[in-house]
């Protein structure tokens, strides 16, 4: 299976918001001038200093959102997009809390709310088309392709225009890698992209604990059972001795053999 992704070249983005509008059209959302991700905006263009920074779901290789979702409503598909299935969602919003890029948004003012995020126009990809935002971009700032293709394109842009670029691709290692990659003329933190993410996928932090649970249940159960067995035995012995003493006290002439006691 091909792993698709999107390369975002912030050095080329001209801030025309054509991608925002195309995205809104694709999802049936209103077109607005509020440039931030929301339940009705799955991609946007932020302004960081003198640079326009298109933002959207990063479609992580090992998505934190999919890992935390208790019902598996979020899924990494084989071809790259991370998708959301509202029919499963219970609305716990753990995905929003956990996503390292703060992507999933919520329909707060609905009694039947959905989580909202980009799905890389999965239906368009299936139909052999590019995602709506990529198709709309007049400046070549968004490129669609397989991850291998995108990396090659990035390298060739570095080679053609070395002075233009900060020589790294954001998304190669961040949080274990993402399917949306960024190019920039300056360090990525200056574009508001997080610089403090580990190189390994974040779900491994929880899995380190979760994977121990079966063992814990087994050994914990055994240990507690053992403790019960010992303390119970002690209690029985104590009670037995007390009874014995009592009997001897009541009837000092007659010593009772042990086996009679046990009956």
């Amino acid at each position: 299976m091909q792993h698709y992704g999107i390369l975002i070249d912030t050095t080329l983005c001209i801030g025309c918001y054509a991608c925002e509008d195309a995205c809104a059209e694709h999802w049936g959302f209103p077109k607005t001038d509020v440039h931030e991700l929301s339940a009705t905006k799955n991609t946007t263009v932020l302004t960081e200093g003198d640079t326009y920074v298109p933002r959207m779901c990063m479609h992580c290789a090992v998505p934190t959102c999919a890992s935390v979702c208790p019902v598996g409503a979020l899924k990494k598909t084989d071809d790259g997009p991370v998708t959301y299935d509202v029919s499963k969602c219970i609305g716990c919003r753990y995905c929003m809390q956990a996503c390292p890029f703060d992507v999933p948004k919520y329909q707060w003012n609905s009694a039947n709310p959905k989580v909202s995020k980009c799905d890389m126009c999965r239906d368009r990809i299936a139909a052999g088309k590019k995602p709506a935002c990529v198709e709309a971009c007049p400046a070549d700032a968004r490129v669609f392709g397989t991850l291998d293709e995108l990396k090659k394109i990035a390298e060739s842009r570095f080679a053609q225009n070395p002075g233009n670029y900060y020589p790294q691709i954001y998304g190669i290692k961040e949080a274990g890698g993402t399917s949306v990659l960024y190019l920039s003329s300056k360090p990525f933190v200056e574009l508001g992209l997080k610089g403090n993410l580990p190189d390994h996928p974040l779900p491994s932090l929880t899995w380190a604990v979760m994977s121990k649970i079966p063992n814990y249940v087994f050994w914990g159960g055994t240990l507690l059972g053992g403790i019960y067995w010992i303390t119970n035995r002690r209690k029985e012995v104590r009670e037995f001795e007390a009874k014995l003493e009592q009997m001897e006290h009541n009837n000092p002439s007659r010593r009772i053999p042990n086996h009679e006691q046990e009956n």
Binding site: T64, A73, I90, R93, Q97, N109, M210
Partner: protein
Amino acid sequence: MTSFLRISLEKIRRMTFWTIVFWIIMALGLTATAIRFTQGLGAATHLSDKFPWGLWIGFDVLCGVGLAAGGFVVAATVYIFNLDYYKPILRPAVLTAFLGYLLVMIALFFDLGRPWQFWHPMIMWNPHSVMFEVFWCVIFYTTVLALEFSPLVFERFKLEKPQKALHAIIVPLVILGVILSSLHQSSLGSLYLIVPEKVYPLWYSANLPYLFFLTAIAVGPAMVTIESFLSSRAFKREIELPILAKLGKVTAVALSVYLVLKIEDVVNDHLWPYVFTFNLEGILYWAEILLGVIVPIILLTYKKTNRSAQGLFYSALFVVLGFILNRMNLSITSIEHYAGVNYFPSWMEISITLMIVAAGFAGFRMAVKYLPVFPEKKETEKPLNKPFDVVEFIGDKHEHATVLN
């Protein structure tokens, strides 16, 4: 005679005061409920895309589950460690835990965006999700608690058969309960393991699950203490002072281990600059550690305070408040800092929380009134009302039966 009259008048006045408060809370809570379920979470809460978890998760769920930890701590002590000495507090502890978990589930119904699908984790599995594990543990453990609690009902209605059946399985049941509790008490902390760059450094730790577990062990007995103290006043019972003193030791030990782990975090994760930055986070951190951990450890080890009812009550109060502060700091203060927002719950969030808590108090009162929660009650007061008489009689008979066996 006149003084007697005055006292009862005073009593009536206080009764009606609390009844009125109760109904005001209920009225506000129900109004908020209607708004929550017709217009969505946005209309009822101050939650937002930047701040998706608020009071209901931070207080109702994270604190609620922890404060109900007395149930498994005392059940383990009595059944697994066979310390019959603690039996008098077993039933109130199990009752509180059972009510507590029911309330947590009710709170979740308010918080989940799509509560009608709450059962989905039963058939749609994701074993990588901490939330999934918490869900299963809470469902199972509430069932276990219902069973641990059921003898009171059986006893009340003299149902001997189920009582015997339950007696036969109680030990495995309690073991299961302890395992489930230790799992989800710690997992509530694991929920935050996955957001290392969002939680304020003073509250993030690779040890979060252990920290949560230890604080649950500390706060469970503290809640039992507070409850014994208050109910001994309200229901005119004698307080189980020697037992509570021993429970205080459990709390002191758990808190000491916790303190060591917290210090270890500071050293290993190089948190000194954060510890000595007295911004809002720093101050709240110190408040939590000093008032919620160090002060109670001192009170509980100091001879004068660790065996008086007052001393135990106040140390327990510190533990509980410190515990609540800790959970709120992790879930609210530290995420506020990350998201750069100020979150304060709306009146609707607050009144729904109050409504749930009030329902808990009412449930506890009802249970104590109609079920043998305090069977070993000493008669220190004037003739009792009916339900208590029945209860005592059945209680005695049961004692008898077990002795005969």
